[in-house]
Subunit: 571 residues, 2 copies
């Protein structure tokens, strides 16, 4: 393809709307344009990247026995009503009526459709396992779509659903997908990490997220410093290791002390001269069901995802001042677990082993000392609700946890029988008994993977595509478009490379060399072949590696081999 014909409208300026790097660069490098908030047109270069990612996904799904199908994007409401999700899904579900007034939605996911399909077609355990997938546009009416392809309202997903006869079957399917996902992201040339993830309020089910590592990632990944251990988890989900305090103190007598103006943990520790790990922080929340008081060590943070899951609530908010006053009888800053009534008290496991700690007295400017939670408090629930941080011990081996930022590009999830039970999806087992399918679901964000690849691979000059998913491998740049000999040499190289199966474009525009170099760097072709008159005089052209800026002169008549070798090296 000739750059003069290719629709790759590069921009000099960073578009004001774009907050994150991938959004900026995909706009600037001419990969996409906005059609509406959170809705994009993918231009030719982006679409080539997407097709490559899709092809890798397809091969890895098929290798595990996946069968590709295509389900509808428009889904009748009846199925969603049957599963109970029509009413709970909320405003993120695009809903509409057809000309006869029947309700439909644009599918954000396809559990209802696929379960209903499989229920109708599969009768016997002999037909299981069944792995069905599709690659398709999905829809989510985000309140505030942003970050370009990272959080759009229309995006491409691969979604696979597994149907098994029992938990052991589900485990096997899950492991197959775990392996397939590992292969997909490796073959895309990305640095990534599968991490234990939060399975939500359902609880109990396994789930892993696949995180592309990038500094700009919204998610925090904690992983074990010991590579042999291999533990890695989304911070939302990472299990706390309960470090027992060395209880050499003898429990003292509970006493109330005056703490004028001391509301925060740091104010209290300074005033009373105690370390923060001896303070009990008490935070009041409201949920759709009740008020909740949470006690945790003063040097720790509450993991609200964990809290949300153990409470099984729909809504979880920090209590406002009025509620705090109602619950504790005191202004904000003096809440404490001792003698607190009419509120659900949740204790982080760790806090329970404190001896002679400090906490608020539920009175203005008063704290309690010599608090011994085992003796002085009556929590309704004692569990792990603590946010784990880098530097803490690995829950698997005790080594140090390290931290990285990641972008979630895939998730594998054991659904169990949630949908098969709701929608009546059963099969007959060996004894002729009807049993619900044991299901799993497995998603890859295809457009998001492209954006994550950019977040992980760029510099100040533009994108640096991994060879495996680069829109083209090579750009041939003749440094002058006026020199006929030079243009002809460039054309020959361009044709030879394409004939040899190397995906190559030629920048045949009548632009200055600097403009061409800048555009090539911005677009991120892995390799540039620069054809200049000085080199040609010696029968040479220059190979330039986008990632490290390295250049090397190669004989003009050996350029195909040289390019192929380089691509193999960096691919």
């Amino acid at each position: 393809m000739r750059v003069s014909n290719l629709l790759v409208p590069t921009l000099r300026e960073v578009p004001a709307e774009a907050e994150v790097i991938s959004h900026q660069l995909l706009l600037r490098a001419g990969f996409m344009r906005k059609a509406a908030a959170g809705v994009y047109t993918l231009l030719p270069l982006a679409w080539r990247v997407i097709l490559k990612i899709e092809r890798i996904i397809r091969e890895e799904m098929d290798r595990q026995g996946g069968q590709e199908i295509m389900m509808p994007i428009i889904q009748p409401a009846e199925l969603w009503q049957e599963s109970g999700r029509w009413d709970v899904y909320g405003p993120e579900l695009f809903r509409f009526k057809d000309r006869h007034g029947r309700d439909f939605c644009l599918g954000p996911t396809h559990e209802e459709i696929i379960t209903t399909l499989v229920k109708g077609e599969i009768n016997s355990y002999k037909q299981l396992p069944l792995l069905l997938y599709q690659i398709q546009n999905k829809y989510r009416d985000e309140r505030r779509p942003r970050f370009g392809l990272m959080r759009g309202r229309e995006f491409i997903m691969k979604d696979l659903y597994s149907f098994d006869r029992d938990e052991a079957g589900l485990d096997a399917s899950y492991n197959k997908m775990y392996e397939a996902y590992t292969n997909v992201f490796r073959r895309c040339g990305l640095q990534f990490r599968p991490v234990v993830a939060d399975s939500g309020a359902i609880g109990g089910s396994d789930t892993h997220e696949f995180m592309v590592l990038a500094e700009s990632g919204e998610a925090t990944v904690l992983y074990c410093a010991d590579e042999k251990c291999g533990y890695a988890a989304n911070q939302e989900r990472a299990e706390a290791v309960h470090s027992l305090a060395s209880n050499i103190d003898v429990p003292g007598e509970l006493q109330k002390v005056s703490t004028p103006g001391c509301r925060s943990v740091s104010e209290v520790t300074e005033y009373l001269n105690v370390p923060p790990e001896k303070v009990i922080k008490t935070v009041i929340y409201t949920t759709d069901k009740e008020n909740v008081a949470v006690m945790i060590r003063g040097d720790r943070e509450i993991n609200e995802i964990k809290l949300y899951n153990v409470l099984g609530c729909v809504r979880l908010d920090l209590a406002d001042e009025q509620t705090v006053r109602g619950v504790t009888g005191a202004p904000v800053g003096y809440a404490g677990p001792v003698g607190l009534n009419g509120v659900k008290l949740v204790a982080d496991s760790e806090v329970m082993s404190l001896v002679n700690a400090v906490c608020g007295a539920n009175e203005k400017e008063q704290h309690l000392v010599n608090v011994n939670p085992q003796r002085d408090t009556k929590p309704d629930l004692i569990t792990d609700i603590r946010l784990v941080k880098a530097g803490e011990p690995c829950p698997q081996c005790g080594a140090e946890l390290l931290e990285a930022k990641g972008i979630e590009v895939g998730q594998v999830f054991k659904l169990g029988t949630k949908y098969s039970k709701a929608l009546g999806g059963t099969f007959l087992d060996e004894s002729g008994k009807a049993r619900p399918f044991v299901m799993g679901c497995y998603g890859i964000g295809v457009t998001r993977t492209m954006a994550a690849a950019v977040e992980q691979n760029y510099d100040e000059r533009g994108i640096i595509w991994p060879v495996q998913i680069a829109p083209y491998h090579v750009i041939v740049v003749p440094v002058s478009s006026k020199d006929q000999n030079l243009m002809q040499a460039a054309e020959t190289i361009y044709n030879d490379l394409n004939d040899a199966g190397v995906e190559t474009v030629i920048d045949d525009r009548p632009e200055r060399a600097g403009v061409k170099f800048n555009d090539a760097d911005l677009v991120g072709y892995p390799l540039r072949v620069t054809v200049g008159s000085k080199g040609l005089a010696n029968g040479q052209v220059e190979l330039y590696m986008r990632r490290n800026g390295e250049t090397v002169l190669v004989p003009q008549d050996d350029v195909v081999n040289a390019v192929k070798t380089k691509l193999r090296d960096i691919g």
Copy 2:
């Protein structure tokens, strides 16, 4: 792939809902299932066919310089309001609001989006021509979706849009697409014909439809018996050749005659003993603008598409009895063009050359004889509004026109500047003057092409896939699943064929041979390899050609070569 794992749920019964062959067979052979009216899930075999068609399309679009992109399915209303189509599109457009109350639609086509995109990115004639395409779901809320994939509400289309600087450029782009479409349908292994089609009320622009020939086709194609001529048109559009009557009669004096009970042409011809081609039939229509009387020879039919186009109306209906009475002053059956006032009179060109013809007198049971239209009528419009039929002369060469039934699977269309003008899409020409893009649009119904392939290729036992788009090329059928030697021989052949790049399934189910044969015929694998104990004893297996039922014994150890040769022969 093993049939025991493959989701290909064949049905013994013809589903009651399915009216046409492709709908019946695609359901029965386990290629698809309905999710809602006009909305289908495509199962693994169907999806393989679709991917093959898409691949062929992609290669042919790219060969002509097309660049693949992906535009959004959800489109903001603003663009449609700007083009003026939001208000005129009617109930076939699926409309909805996002969470902020903004209007959107599901794209039935993408002229608005692409024109707006190109307008923003292309400034100069130097960047033209530009051919952009996508392969994507499209939406049309049909009042009565039916015929399965032939007229669904959600379907896959390839749509390409061309942007040129002038009409000559458009001609070139149009010709490229005409060639590409010819290649696509040829490579899909289909019998087809490009025909001159109706360009609608816009008029003037060229358009061709690509018709897959099939007896069940809804469209009638008229084509010249002389292959060298090559004329072919949709009957809706076929030009009438004006056969001049041999005017040896001397015009007689207009006379009114009594015709008791003679309302129809046949009654009049019998009663007055005149041939139908001497009768002037007058038909009254109502439109959104006016009443219209149409005069045509008694042996001819009115082509309402032609009439609709020349009238430039939105609605065209046969007048009801009351309107006929109001216009003619007589009951239905006695309308005539002589002395008819207060109505637009449209004459088919042919009728004007009649001499001493017969027509209704606008009085009950009265007709006029010796009617000479040139002398006795004053049409507002004389033009070709006649439905051409097989047997009439070719408008290009005069040879006989033959008739075939066809299914429209593609259309190429010269849009001109309709959308670029409406949406302000301009570029600067050589002299720096802003000029509107000259556009074309070109569609292929991808899902419809699959259905049309079935309509053209089936027999009483099931589908007969053209090799080029068959979901798999070969099915290996061991006639007994209990005989271990036989199963092992079948497995070896299955593996050898797949290793040799032949897409092969094995029917490893513990079913009777008859069941397997019936399913294989129903699904339509082009080639079946039957592995039986009798043949194996002689080191032979049987090849069975689905299309002609031919069987041939081949040596067991030469099966790969034999299969490859056969596939080449029938492909």
